[in-house]
C-alpha cells in the first residue's frame, strides 16, 4: 500500500499533492512512450511483428520498435530461449538503460513451455532477468500482447519514480 510521504516535515498535505502530480506527469510520459526492442527469438516474433502491423498496431500506444538496446524501454522476450542465446539475452538486458521492463512473451519464455523436455532450452527467462509481465500462449495472440503492454503501462503508472531510491532498482540475481 502506498502511503503518501511528504517532502516537507510535519505533514503538510500540499507538498505531497505536488510530488504526486509530478510523478503522474512523469509516469504519463514513460507509460505512453514504451519503445520496445526489435528482438525476436522464435515463433512469438512473428506474432510480435503482426502486433506492430496494421491490425493491432502497437504504435497507437506510442510503442515503436527500436533496433538498439540503448534506446529501448521494453524487452519483449518473444520465444524460446536457449542457453546459447540466454547469455546474450542477459547481456542485452544489461545494455538497456534504466528504466527498463520485460515481458516474457509465450510459454517458452515463461517456463520453457513445449520445449521443457529439451536439453538446450532455458526453462523460463526469469532465471536470468527479472520479468514484469508474464504472457502465456503458444504463441499469444496480438490482442494478448497488446493487453500485456497495457499491463506494463499500468505498472508504470502505479510506480513513484521520484521516490525510488537508487538501491530500489531491480538487481539481477
Amino acid at each position: 500500500m502506498y502511503k503518501p510521504m511528504s517532502l516537507v516535515p510535519s505533514g503538510e498535505p500540499g507538498a505531497t499533492v505536488i510530488t504526486t502530480r509530478v510523478d503522474d506527469v512523469l509516469n504519463w510520459g514513460r507509460a505512453n512512450s514504451l519503445w520496445y526492442m526489435l528482438f525476436g527469438l522464435a515463433c512469438c516474433a512473428i506474432e510480435m511483428m503482426q502486433t506492430g502491423g496494421p491490425r493491432a498496431d502497437l504504435d497507437r500506444f506510442g510503442a515503436v520498435p527500436r533496433p538498439t538496446p540503448r534506446q529501448s524501454d521494453l524487452m519483449l522476450v518473444a520465444g524460446t530461449l536457449t542457453y546459447k542465446m540466454a547469455i546474450r539475452t542477459k547481456l542485452l538486458y544489461e545494455q538497456m538503460t534504466e528504466p527498463k521492463f520485460v515481458i516474457a512473451m509465450g510459454s517458452c519464455a515463461t517456463c520453457g513451455g513445449l520445449f521443457s523436455p529439451g536439453y538446450s532450452v532455458l526453462k523460463g527467462v526469469d532465471k536470468i532477468i527479472p520479468v514484469d509481465v508474464y504472457l502465456p500462449g503458444c504463441p499469444p495472440r496480438p490482442e494478448a500482447l497488446t493487453e500485456a503492454l497495457i499491463h506494463v503501462q499500468r505498472q508504470i503508472k502505479r510506480s513513484r519514480p521520484l521516490r525510488q531510491k537508487h538501491e530500489d532498482t531491480k538487481i539481477i540475481t
Binding site: G29, R60, G62, T68, R70, E98
Partner: protein
C-alpha cells in the same frame, strides 16, 4: 533585435548601469532560448507526430492516437520519457566527444532557423549572407555525426558516421551548386532578397524561371534529402544494416537531440526549398499592400501562413518519399552524386548565365516560364493519375478520414 534591446534598456533603467554588450548578450540568449523552446522544438516535435501519423496512414495502420487529441502530445511523452531515461556512456567510449557530439548536431541544425524567413518581417536575423550562412552552419552537423560515430567505440556507429560524413560532404557540392543559379538571378545572398526577387504568382517562382533553374530545383531537393539522411539516402542510419547507425550507443536526452535535429532538419529542407525556388511567403496580396497601406499586417500574417503551409506540404512529400522508396547502396549513392548531379549543376550555372544574357536581348524568352509552369503542373497531375489507376487496379478500399 537592436531596437528591441534599446526598448528594453530604455524601460528598465537599472540595466543602464551594466555594460551594453552584456545586456545585448543576455537579451539575445533569452530570446534564442525562447525561440528554441517554443518555436523550433514545436516544429521538430509536431513534425515527428506528423511523420508517425502519416507513416501510419501510408502503412494502413493508425499511428499514435492515445496521448492527447489524436495522439498529438505523443512527442511530449517521448521527450519526457527520454529526459527521464538513464544517460548512458559506454565504458570504452571517448567520453568527452561522446558527450559533446549531440549538442553540435543540435546546434548546427537549429542555428539554421536564424535565417528561415517565415514572413516579410518575421525573420530572426536577415543576414546579408543568408544562404551562405545556411551552408556554412549546417556543416557542423557532419562534424557532430562523425564525432558521435567515432567516439561511441562501436563499429556499427563508426560505419554509420563514416557513411554519413561521406554522404553529406559529397552532396554539399551539388546542393551549393544548385543554389548558385538562384543567387545569380537575385544578385544577393540574403534570404528576403531571394524571396522578393520572385513574384507572387507561381509562374514567377525561380523553379519555373528558366529550364536550368527547373533542373536545379530537383537537384537541390534531392540533394537536400541526401544531406538530411532521408530515404532513399538514409544509409547512415539504415536500420536493417547498421542497427541504428551513428546513434546506436546513445540513450536518453542525448538521443533526443539527434532525434529532434532530424525532424528539425526535415522542416529546414522544406523551408529552404520554398524560399529558394517556390516563392517563399509571397502571396498575390503583397502586390496590393502598397496601394492600400492599411492591410499591411494582415498580409504579413497571410504570407507567414502561406510559407508554413507550403513548407509543410513539402514535409509531407518528404515523408511520403521516405515511406515509399527503398534505400540506395553506398556506391550507388556516390554515383548519383558525382556522375550526374555535379556535372548537371555546373551545366546549370553556365546555362543560367547564358540565359540571363539572352533574356536581356530577347524578352520573348520570358514566356518560357509559363511553359515550365505547365510542365511543373504536370508532375503532380501525373502522380495523381498513377495513384487513381493503382486504386482502380488493386480494388482498394479508400478511407479518407484521417482521424481515427
Amino acid at each position: 533585435m537592436e531596437r528591441l534591446a534599446d526598448y528594453i534598456v530604455y524601460n528598465l533603467p537599472f540595466l543602464q548601469q551594466i555594460p551594453r554588450v552584456i545586456v545585448d548578450l543576455i537579451i539575445m540568449l533569452f530570446f534564442a532560448t525562447c525561440m528554441l523552446l517554443f518555436w523550433v522544438a514545436l516544429f521538430a516535435g509536431i513534425t515527428s507526430w506528423v511523420e508517425r501519423r502519416v507513416a501510419g496512414r501510408i502503412q494502413s495502420r493508425i499511428g499514435p492516437n492515445r496521448v492527447g487529441p489524436q495522439g498529438f502530445l505523443q512527442w511530449i511523452a517521448d521527450g519526457l520519457k527520454c529526459f527521464l531515461k538513464e544517460d548512458f556512456v559506454p565504458a570504452a567510449a571517448d567520453k568527452k566527444l561522446f558527450l559533446l557530439a549531440p549538442y553540435i548536431v543540435f546546434a548546427g541544425m537549429f542555428a539554421v532557423f536564424v535565417v528561415v524567413p517565415f514572413g516579410d518581417g518575421l525573420i530572426i536575423s536577415n543576414l546579408n549572407i543568408g544562404i551562405f550562412y545556411v551552408l556554412a552552419i549546417s556543416s557542423l552537423v557532419v562534424v557532430g555525426i562523425l564525432m558521435s560515430g567515432w567516439s561511441s567505440n562501436n563499429k556499427w556507429s563508426l560505419l554509420g558516421g563514416m557513411r554519413s560524413a561521406a554522404q553529406i560532404v559529397s552532396y554539399e557540392i551539388p546542393v551549393s551548386l544548385a543554389i548558385l543559379p538562384v543567387i545569380l538571378l537575385t544578385g544577393s545572398l540574403g534570404m528576403q532578397d531571394i524571396i522578393r526577387a520572385q513574384g507572387p504568382y507561381p509562374w514567377q517562382w525561380f523553379a519555373f524561371h528558366n529550364p536550368f533553374t527547373f533542373i536545379a530545383f530537383f537537384i537541390f531537393f534531392i540533394g537536400a534529402l541526401a544531406e538530411g539522411n532521408r530515404t532513399p539516402f538514409d544509409i547512415p542510419e539504415a536500420e536493417s544494416e547498421l542497427v541504428a547507425g551513428y546513434n546506436t550507443e546513445y540513450s536518453g536526452m542525448r538521443f533526443v537531440f539527434f532525434f529532434f535535429a532530424e525532424w528539425a532538419n526535415l522542416y529546414i529542407i522544406a523551408a529552404l526549398t520554398v524560399t529558394l525556388f517556390l516563392g517563399g511567403w509571397n502571396t498575390p496580396a503583397h502586390l496590393y499592400t502598397n496601394l492600400f497601406g492599411l492591410l499591411h499586417r494582415s498580409v504579413d500574417v497571410a504570407g507567414t501562413f502561406v510559407f508554413i503551409l507550403k513548407s509543410l506540404f513539402l514535409v509531407f512529400v518528404i515523408i511520403w518519399i521516405r515511406w515509399t522508396l527503398p534505400r540506395l547502396r553506398v556506391d550507388q549513392m556516390m554515383d548519383v552524386c558525382w556522375k550526374y548531379f555535379v556535372p548537371f549543376s555546373f551545366a546549370n550555372i553556365v546555362g543560367t548565365i547564358i540565359w540571363m544574357v539572352l533574356a536581356d536581348a530577347a524578352p520573348v524568352l520570358g514566356y518560357v516560364r509559363y511553359i515550365l509552369f505547365v510542365v511543373g503542373l504536370m508532375v503532380p497531375l501525373a502522380i495523381a493519375m498513377k495513384i487513381t489507376r493503382n486504386f482502380r487496379l488493386a480494388k482498394s478500399e479508400i478511407h479518407l478520414n484521417p482521424f481515427i
